[in-house]
């Protein structure tokens, strides 16, 4: 890497490009050339800055000064003042409070967002994701080198077990134990599969890792392959993530060239290859056995379990399936040790968690904080409070399959253990914050609409159950609900939880159940008074027909 005295990062997410980010880059380069600064200052791009209202952004390093929104016509002035004369251009500065996401984090080192700790998103947004040199210079592939040269496969698993890392896909299964299962499974051929089918509504943390730090996942998968005795891996990435797919392909080619992937990695006997497999749009493929079916070129219908993928996975071979965020924790743990990892988070849930914050709050975006902070802290510190005039009514955690958390539970620490005790699930880390204008029935209807669309149709409880609960909920919004319907729906949900083949059907009714536990009065108002207290539902059987119309077979 050449030594530069400064670097300029320009945001190039789709919204920034629409607002002229490419022109900004062009004008910056021209201005730098005219001041003869092109060899001293590097212009690069950053694909996700985690927030939206001051795009395009221009960030000048090493000072970490953030400008935004910047127009192409500002570029020359900015270069002249900041990079030539060394003065900050005050009137182009981004408003200090409007910063979340990776850039907000950088400011965090200057007293912003004090509790934020980045392990998974350590590099995302700070390095050029298409440059392996920048990854290496930020401790990249150090953990792999350590694993291959200093540790036995058994030793790697011991460290992961000792760290207490739990799967970040939603279920929270101890990662070390899963690795041990696959290592112990009979068979010569084994696979590592990275679950990057991030389709849970409201979750986009994996996209940030894949787009911003693709080498991290490759490094983690090679380590996993070494630990469990596999020589081949698949990254199953959802079809919608085009940029992440490109970055992964680039990263794989670079890693092969540098000898971190392919044959004789780091000059040892260990060989490992990775294929990137793009999905084609199916939420259910996030379920690990459906994902395996999909890689095998079949419809993504979950298998009956047992046997589990740890013994009979891809092509019927023992297979380790880990989520992107889980894998992203592996290299930092190996680099810094299990004790360091356990010092983060709570005793029962070590480490950090990446949350995506959405809804009626001032700032929406991604944060990574130690396990165990409360919802109140998330809303008031990271999300900068509710929107003006908004009062917290409820939060929905973990995407569509997650739980409804009423305002009075907002002080429960968010870790696997505490949430389990409170009867709610942490899920994928999506936090949808809803204010008093949100009608709980309308929200649950939207969630159920998702499930009846995404149900793969293999098992009856889910295929029919999701549809029936949706119909019951829809009748509530149309002023056609009956009290008896509620018990029918709850019975159906119990059956679905008990008999559905996979997590999709088992969790489809979670939100409905949460609604009945915490907001029964509001639901009953829809039935007994034929009134929607928030005024969101039409309560009219005719007009409600224009809702999202479901087409059974639109293809």
């Amino acid at each position: 890497m050449k030594t530069k005295r400064a670097m300029i990062l320009v945001s190039n997410d789709p919204e920034s490009i629409r607002l002229g980010a490419n022109e900004v880059v062009q004008h910056l380069n021209e201005a730098l050339a005219s001041y003869d600064l092109q060899d001293e200052v590097d212009v690069s791009t950053i694909s996700d800055v985690g927030y939206s209202n001051i795009l395009p952004l221009v960030i000048v390093y090493p000072d970490t000064v953030v400008y935004g929104p910047v127009k192409a016509s500002d570029a020359r002035y900015l270069v002249e003042e900041h990079l030539y004369k060394g003065r900050v251009v005050n009137d182009l500065l981004a408003p200090p409070k409007a910063l979340t996401g990776p850039i907000g984090f950088l400011r965090g080192h200057k007293g912003y967002n004090p509790a934020e700790q980045r392990v998974v998103l350590e590099r995302a947004g700070r390095i050029d994701p298409e440059s392996i040199e920048e990854f290496i210079s930020a401790n990249g592939y150090e953990a792999l080198g350590k694993a291959l040269s200093e540790l036995t496969p058994e030793g790697v698993i011991e460290i992961i077990e000792k760290s207490g890392l739990q799967g970040r896909g939603g279920a929270g299964f101890p990662t070390g134990r899963k690795w041990r299962f696959v290592r112990g499974a009979k068979g010569e051929k084994k696979y590592v599969v990275c679950n990057a089918d991030e389709s849970e509504p409201g979750t986009f943390k994996d996209r940030l890792v894949l787009e911003g730090d693709p080498h991290l996942i490759i490094e983690a998968m090679v380590i996993a392959g070494y630990a469990i005795g596999a020589d081949e891996g698949y990254i199953y990435i959802r079809g919608e993530y085009g940029l992440a797919y490109q970055h992964l392909e680039t990263a794989i080619a670079q890693a092969k060239e540098y000898g971190f992937l392919g044959d004789n990695i780091f000059g040892t006997d260990f060989c490992f290859n990775i294929h990137v497999h793009a999905g084609a749009g199916a939420y259910v493929c996030g379920e690990e056995t459906a994902l395996i079916e999909s890689i095998e070129g079949k419809r993504g219908e979950p298998r009956s379990r047992p046997p589990y993928p740890t013994t009979n996975g891809l092509w019927d071979k023992p297979t380790l399936v880990n989520n992107v965020e889980t894998l992203a924790n592996i290299p930092p743990i190996l680099r810094n040790g299990a004790d360091w990892y356990k010092s983060l988070g709570t005793p029962s849930s070590p480490g950090t968690k990446v949350y995506t914050i959405m809804g009626n709050v001032n700032f929406r975006g991604v944060i990574e904080v130690p396990m165990g902070i409360t919802l109140r802290e998330v809303i008031n510190i990271y999300a900068k409070g509710m929107k003006p005039g908004s009062i917290l009514k409820l939060a929905q955690t973990g995407g569509s399959s997650g739980s409804i958390i009423p305002a009075d539970l907002q002080d429960t620490p968010m870790d696997f253990e505490s949430f389990r005790k409170a009867g709610v699930s942490l899920g994928s880390g999506a936090l949808l914050i809803c204010d008093q204008h949100t009608c709980i029935v309308d929200l649950v209807k939207v969630l159920l609409q998702f499930f009846r669309f995404e149900s793969c149709g293999k098992c009856t409880p889910c295929r029919v159950g999701a549809q029936r609960i949706y119909e019951i909920t829809k009748r509530l919004t149309q002023g056609q609900g009956e009290i008896a319907d509620l018990d029918i729906a709850l019975d159906l949900i119990s059956e679905m939880e008990r008999t559905s083949n996979c997590g999709l059907g088992q969790t489809a009714g979670t939100a409905f159940r949460g609604m009945m536990t915490h907001f029964r009065e509001e639901v009953e108002a829809h039935i007994l008074n034929r009134v929607c207290p928030t005024g969101v539902c039409s309560m009219d059987p005719e007009t409600a027909q224009s809702d999202y119309i479901f087409i059974t077979q639109e293809k």
């Binding site: 991030e198 497999h277 084609a280 419809r299």
Partner: protein
């Protein structure tokens, strides 16, 4: 289907097989590639894929119905022709609570389309989609491969006018 397109299909399928291989894990990528070029997977393409995968005497044996089963399962692959531009609107909760419903209503009114329909002039197809992972800038819609975030009902006409 005209003879020209037929030869296009054959060439495209051949290229896709060269790129993705002949194993079962290539089936979905091959279908995706055909879908990307034509906007949907025409009936002849199923026949062509199955023919090309079988004649070479590899270990793969795939019948048309199996491929059709895949195409009908996955949302991003269409088996019927779509408009020149496809608008995908995120209908999930994060976009819904920040005003997505109003944008969706405006889209339907402006185009006079319902979910899954195509305009008579074959310019637009309107569909809803599940989460696109752009929730921090919801409501979100996708026109072909262009993403639009923080969309308001007022912006809908402006966005549509960008497309020929």
């Amino acid at each position: 289907m005209s003879a020209l397109i037929e030869s296009d299909v054959a060439a495209l399928v051949q290229a896709a097989i060269e790129k993705h291989g002949r194993n079962p894990d290539a089936f979905i990528p091959i279908l995706s590639e055909v879908n990307h070029v034509f906007g949907h997977v025409p009936g002849d393409a199923f026949r062509e894929i199955s023919r090309q995968l079988n004649i070479e005497g590899g270990r793969v044996n795939v019948v048309e119905s199996q491929l059709y089963g895949l195409a009908s399962f996955y949302d991003m692959i269409s088996t019927k022709p779509r408009g020149r531009h496809v608008i995908k609107f995120c209908e999930n909760a994060p976009c819904h609570v920040v005003g997505g419903k109003a944008v969706w209503d405006t889209l339907q009114e402006t185009l006079n389309l319902k979910n899954g329909e195509t305009t008579p002039d074959s310019k637009w197809t309107l569909v809803t989609t599940s989460c696109l992972g752009l929730c921090s800038v919801g409501p979100v819609l996708l026109v072909d491969d262009d993403m639009y975030g923080n969309v308001t009902p007022e912006q809908v006409t402006d966005i549509l006018e960008r497309y020929e």
